[in-house]
């Protein structure tokens, strides 16, 4: 037993180190940070350009009162007396940002060198001016109009938990994303690891040295370890980013408040077990693939994406009966339950039951994977049929 565990540990370390490189992780973060920074600078520059109050030459006010042309984001300059040719000249030379000509309450034009973001603000401003003039002309009380436009003040009271805020949805979305990342990282590495070993003819030597169960356990643990490191790394990075944003006065603290220790432990446990389960599944399928370029079984590897897709329905109604059930059954709980825990009140027994069922499933999957793996890994030039795979699976 001690020797078996030692072998599993050796394989775990090997598989982990085979694919996990700290430098790659750091380079990835630096790469995305650099692009984020470039995007931020460009965005800031564009935004500052947008909100620099443009100098709008008003050539004609139409039936509007010139004294009303005041706006904190737009600079109106009276050019009613200026000759159109001169205004066009100034526009060409960049001395003014645009020429506004109002013909009537319903008709106006703006002349600009090309499309400008502030034109939308100008249009809103003119619409408001027009509405005020129209209301004034009709003699209707402006307060009555405001009252008409106001909606009913419907407050929400919940039997279980509180209202789902945008922060809740962001945290739930991030949780689903992290789960997706861990599972698909497992897919990529497990697939590469096993099909490459088959193609590089390493299998026979290793399988003569250790039992298939030890090999598969080590592989599952090593590759799951990589997924967990990525989740913890990016999770920590997200928390650090949130804390930095809070320092700049950006109101993201409510998102951070969702991450309490119980949620964190349950989330890590469920994701760990879910990733272990799917990595067992991947190992079994990958072992049956002879040539990844032509195998029909490659499509099976996308199966774990479906529970994650279901998890997004939690954002719509976290308390529906189907979603509650999906949060407990092993094939979907790893994605659905963490999202539910963020979005709504979850009874204490639900995570416990989900974890217990996942543990049983992981155990059965790893044994089934080893059975399929031990037979299929030696098949070169031929893939087992589903009937054969089902037979091996039934032997569990």
């Amino acid at each position: 037993m001690k020797n078996e565990l030692k072998v599993v540990w050796e394989v775990t370390k090997w598989e982990f180190n085979r694919f996990f490189k700290w430098m790659d992780l750091i380079k990835g973060v630096l790469f995305f940070s650099l692009f984020g920074l470039i995007g931020g600078v460009i965005g800031y520059w564009l935004a500052s350009d947008t909100f620099t109050a443009p100098d709008i030459a008003v050539a004609n006010y139409g039936s509007f009162d010139p004294s009303l042309f005041e706006h904190n984001e737009l600079q109106f300059i009276d050019h009613a007396a200026t000759h159109p040719d001169s205004l066009n000249q100034q526009l060409t030379e960049g001395k003014i940002s645009g020429i506004l000509t109002i013909y009537s309450l319903d008709d106006a034009s703006i002349r600009v060198p090309s499309e400008r973001a502030w034109v939308i603000i100008l249009e809103q401003f003119l619409n408001e001016l027009r509405r005020d003039v129209k209301i004034s002309e009709s003699g209707i009380d402006p307060e009555w109009i405001s009252s008409l436009q106001a909606g009913i003040g419907l407050s929400r009271e919940f039997e279980k938990g509180g209202e789902s805020t945008t922060a809740d949805k962001i945290v739930a979305g991030i949780a689903i994303f992290l789960v997706l990342m861990a599972v698909f990282m497992g897919f990529a590495y497990q697939f590469t690891a096993i099909t490459a070993e088959k193609q590089q003819r390493i299998t026979e030597q290793v399988i003569s040295a250790i039992r298939p169960q030890a090999w598969i356990d080590g592989k599952i643990l090593g590759i799951t370890g990589i997924g967990m490191i990525y989740i913890l790394f990016y999770g920590a990075l997200g928390i650090a980013g949130t804390l930095i944003l809070m320092q700049f006065g950006i109101p993201v603290g409510s998102a951070l408040a969702q991450i309490n220790p119980i949620f964190l432990i349950t989330f890590i446990l469920i994701v760990l077990l879910g990733t272990l389960m799917w990595n067992s599944f991947y190992a079994a399928i990958a072992a049956t693939i002879d040539d990844p370029n032509t195998s029909q079984k490659t499509g099976w590897m996308t199966m774990p994406i479906y529970p994650v897709m279901l998890a997004f329905f939690v954002l719509i109604n976290p308390d529906s009966i189907p979603i509650t059930i999906l949060g407990i059954i092993p094939f979907t709980s790893y994605a659905v339950l963490p999202a539910r825990m963020v979005m709504t009140y979850v009874a204490w027994w639900e995570p416990l039951l989900a974890i217990l069922l996942l543990m049983i499933t992981v155990h059965l999957f790893r044994i089934a994977a080893a059975r399929i793996f031990s037979t299929a890994i030696m098949m070169v030039g031929k893939e087992p049929t589903f009937k054969e795979m089902f037979y091996w699976f039934r032997r569990v």
């Binding site: 050796e10 590089q200 003819r201 026979e204 030597q205 290793v206 030696m378």
Partner: protein, 308 residues
Amino acid sequence: MLSFFNVTKQYSKVTAVDRLSFSIQKGEIFALLGPNGAGKTTSVRMIMQIIEPDSGEIRFDTAMVAGKSVDRRRLGYLPEERGLYQETPIIKTLVYLAALRGKDAVWSRKQAISWLERFGLKERMNDKVSALSKGNQQKVQFISSILHEPDFVVLDEPFSGFDPINQEFISDCIRELRDSGMTILLSAHQMQLVERIADRILLINDGRELVSGTLEAIRQKTISGQKIVVKYNGDVNHEQLDETPGISGYKMIDEAEWEIYLGEGFVLNGILNGLALAGKITDLKTAETTLHEIFIQSFKNGRNNNEK
């Protein structure tokens, strides 16, 4: 060390190994020979616990057994289908494969460096396996099979992919390992090398034994152990050779030189007259049959027996 008793393994329509029995003694080089598809690889895979026999028994010395099965840490294996982790440094690969056989990393590293030095690869120990030539990868693979100092090692085609100089070097290494107490099961097609290093030989075909024993014993059993090399001056009447009692077969080496095989139970005197009638003899000498000839002759005999 190992006894293989009445073992049968059947694949869907083919009986790969058919009631085969043999035993391997501790500290010997045992050669398992046979043509392609004879059942060598299946036998080896059953010994290495990769596949299970349908019937029969494979029994190791009690010292090799841990629990209900053989202790895999005490086995070494160089499979015919070679493969190593291509993108991993050589030294890491060797240490990992030894770790799977229960060896400590520090000890394995030291041993690996020593073996790599012997094979002229020490300077490249941190290179990726993919950077090595095919021959050098073969060397690394050979090292990986014996690095952990197994009690019993299976070397399936250990000479393939090597030039004659390295084949000699590998055969010296195998002998040295045997002398150090390791038991070796060897499967190879290089008959002249096997002939020189094997203590005992088993020839199989269609999953069954054709002949086994020491080379000398096999010679006695197959072609009576006698071969005569005759040089003629001028034409040779081979019909005369066919008609001479006691000649079981012959082969023309070139126009002047012929190899004549003596039939079982006959002596040289009995065929001398027939040889002289076939042509003008300029030289005549006896020679020992090679393993290659035994190999070919055994399969001819086996086929004839099957046809009968």
